[in-house]
């Protein structure tokens, strides 16, 4: 009796296994064909996605590299004349302007954005919910809106005039939601067990936030901040209404300044071919700027990861 009982299941088990094997054999060629088609489709999609990017980079380097010289970085732009139609000068004012705008915008947006992000991650209140909705809406708002706001509020209402501070204010408003959202996510991703560990050692709540949670979330926060800066550097719309494109190298917050994206926009409209050619040089410098920023962020983040 017991022998039969033991044989029976293993017999059906054997039959089942045989059927599975047969079914696998039947489908084998079909599955291989489907697999090949899928791999081909994926490869095609990758090539298709890469084509515009490669073309863009090719064009950028081909047209822009010739523009780059020491003079390009260090001298102010000049207006070509009929006597000297290639006298375009450099873009030092745009470089200085972009650096100044980004610096002031960062000073305004980074601390505030990080603090709000931490607040959102650590509290559950009506205020937090409202702030989160505002941040998410702002992140999706068209950037020209920030420019309009800065124009009507800073340039006009506060009567500050066209200035670096008005431009950096617009950029700061643009950067803030990005920083807030990425900070909140980074802080939320810190395991609750670490917070408990800190509290169980008799630490006060704010100490745990500062000494345990924040350092653990730092990689994510910094990545978000650099993303925000990279975005701000390349924005034209928010600044074109408020910085007036000054033709001097100025770090002063209250003076009109230029910026690289604005210089591209202005030069592209120029009637002089020499000035129009310059836009590729400016674009190349801008792309290299952003590339260096995001590369350093990646290196920094991966080194931090290794320390863990």
């Amino acid at each position: 009796m017991s022998d039969v009982m033991e044989l029976e299941p293993s017999h059906t088990g054997h039959e089942m296994r045989e059927q599975i094997r047969q079914s696998a054999d039947r489908n084998r060629s079909r599955r291989l064909a489907v697999s090949r088609v899928m791999v081909a489709l994926c490869s095609a999609a990758i090539v298709l996605a890469a084509v515009p990017l490669v073309l863009l980079m090719y064009q950028l380097i081909k047209q822009g590299a010739g523009q780059i010289s020491w003079k390009f970085f260090t001298t102010l732009p000049t207006t070509p004349t009929l006597l000297d139609p290639t006298a375009t000068g450099g873009i030092s004012n745009a470089i200085v302007g972009t650096l100044a705008l980004t610096l002031y915008a960062s000073v305004m947006a980074i601390p505030l954005g990080i603090i709000v992000g931490i607040y959102l991650a650590e509290t559950q209140s009506k205020l937090a919910t409202t702030l989160r909705v505002i941040a998410q809406t702002m992140a999706g708002a068209p950037s020209i809106l920030m420019g309009l706001f800065a124009f009507s509020f800073i340039v006009h209402d506060l009567n500050v005039g066209f200035s670096a501070i008005a431009g950096s204010f617009a950029l700061a408003v643009l950067m803030m939601p990005v920083i807030i959202i990425s900070t909140e996510i980074a802080v939320r991703n810190v395991p609750a067990t670490l917070r408990e560990a800190g509290l169980a050692l008799g630490a006060k709540s704010h100490k745990v936030s500062l000494k345990v949670v924040l350092p653990s979330a730092l990689t994510g926060i910094v990545t978000g901040v650099i993303l925000a800066i990279s975005r701000a550097i390349g924005e034209t719309a928010p600044v074109m209404l408020v910085i007036a494109g000054g033709f001097i190298n100025s770090w002063k917050p209250l003076s009109p300044v230029s910026a690289m994206p604005l210089a591209i926009y202005e030069n592209a409209k120029s009637e002089w071919p020499s000035q129009r050619a310059q836009v590729w040089g400016i674009a190349l410098v801008l792309v290299v700027f952003v590339f260096i920023l995001s590369l350093s962020a990646r290196i920094w983040a991966s080194r931090k990861q290794q320390v863990r």
Binding site: E196, L199, G202, S216
Partner: protein, 273 residues
């Protein structure tokens, strides 16, 4: 319960020493739903007390009431009284941060601070509480790492990130981190459940030596572990309304060999749970 307690006191006279923590009718509820109740027992100084029982019997919930970790959970309410050396920890003259320096905790999974070095981890509790003097920190680091049987293997790499240690070493680091504050009581929430048998053995050995300087209360799923390491045992079980309750508290020997309640015997014999 009163009966049980009276009997424990009768059976365990002076030789057992003073009481470290005294629980009377302790219950914990979340949003009005009781999770554990009826917990009345005394934890004797310099002993290991284990809380055993099947999943859902409220062992961890009870343990977390002892250092007021439920304070963080919205809707959590602890009733009854818990005394630490004669001080009511919920109503008495003691701040929650002071309580937590006197009642340390080791968690289920090793949770060293990932951004800190081994050294910084050990002294983190002291630093949180405002101690900055380097000599003091150095001394506490060495003493507690030695107590956690970790000093010999890490003394030459104290500045290395704590995450480089193995799981067992990380858990011993967490024990050292708790010991650095020189607590009177050490709560351990299934401290070996995430560790392999060798690392578990090391931690168990450690607990036996630790009780000379600190009273240990440990939650464990592993009955052999409870039998091996603990002096006293509290057996909890989930009641009909799904709330955990204390069934029996006694010496480990009695709980495992000759318990009062038949359910205790069934559990320790492995008939359920």
């Amino acid at each position: 319960m009163v009966e049980v307690q009276a009997r424990v006191e009768a059976e365990t006279p002076k030789e057992r020493g003073a009481t470290a923590m005294q629980l009377t009718n302790v219950a914990v509820a979340f949003h009005g739903r009781t999770a554990v109740r009826d917990c009345t027992f005394d934890v004797t100084k310099n002993t290991v007390t284990s809380l055993i029982g099947p999943s859902g019997s409220g062992k961890t919930t009870l343990l977390r009431a002892l250092n007021r970790l439920h304070d963080l959970t919205p809707g959590a309410k602890v009733s009854g009284t818990i005394f630490l050396e004669g001080t009511d920890i919920y109503r008495g003259d003691i701040t929650v941060t002071e309580l937590r320096t006197r009642v340390g905790m080791v968690f289920q999974r090793p949770n060293p601070f990932p951004t800190m070095s081994i050294y910084d981890n050990v002294v983190s509790g002291l630093r949180f509480n405002g101690i900055k003097k380097k000599a003091l920190l150095d001394e506490a680091a060495e003493t507690s790492l030695r107590s956690a049987a970790l000093w010999d293997s890490v003394s030459n790499r104290l500045k290395v990130a704590a995450s480089n240690l193995s799981g067992g070493e990380q858990q011993r680091l967490c024990i050292a981190r708790a010991l650095a504050l020189d607590p009177e009581v050490l709560l351990m929430d299934e401290p070996t459940s995430a560790l392999d048998p060798i690392a578990t053995l090391h931690i168990e050995e450690l607990m036996k030596t630790l009780k000379s300087r600190v009273t240990v209360i440990i939650v464990t799923h592993n009955m052999q572990q409870a039998a091996r390491i603990s002096d006293d045992c509290a057996f909890l079980l989930m009641g009909d309304d799904r709330a955990g309750e204390l069934i029996e508290f006694d010496t480990t020997e009695k709980i495992f060999n000759n318990p009062e309640d038949s359910r205790t015997l069934d559990y320790t014999l492995g008939r359920f749970g």
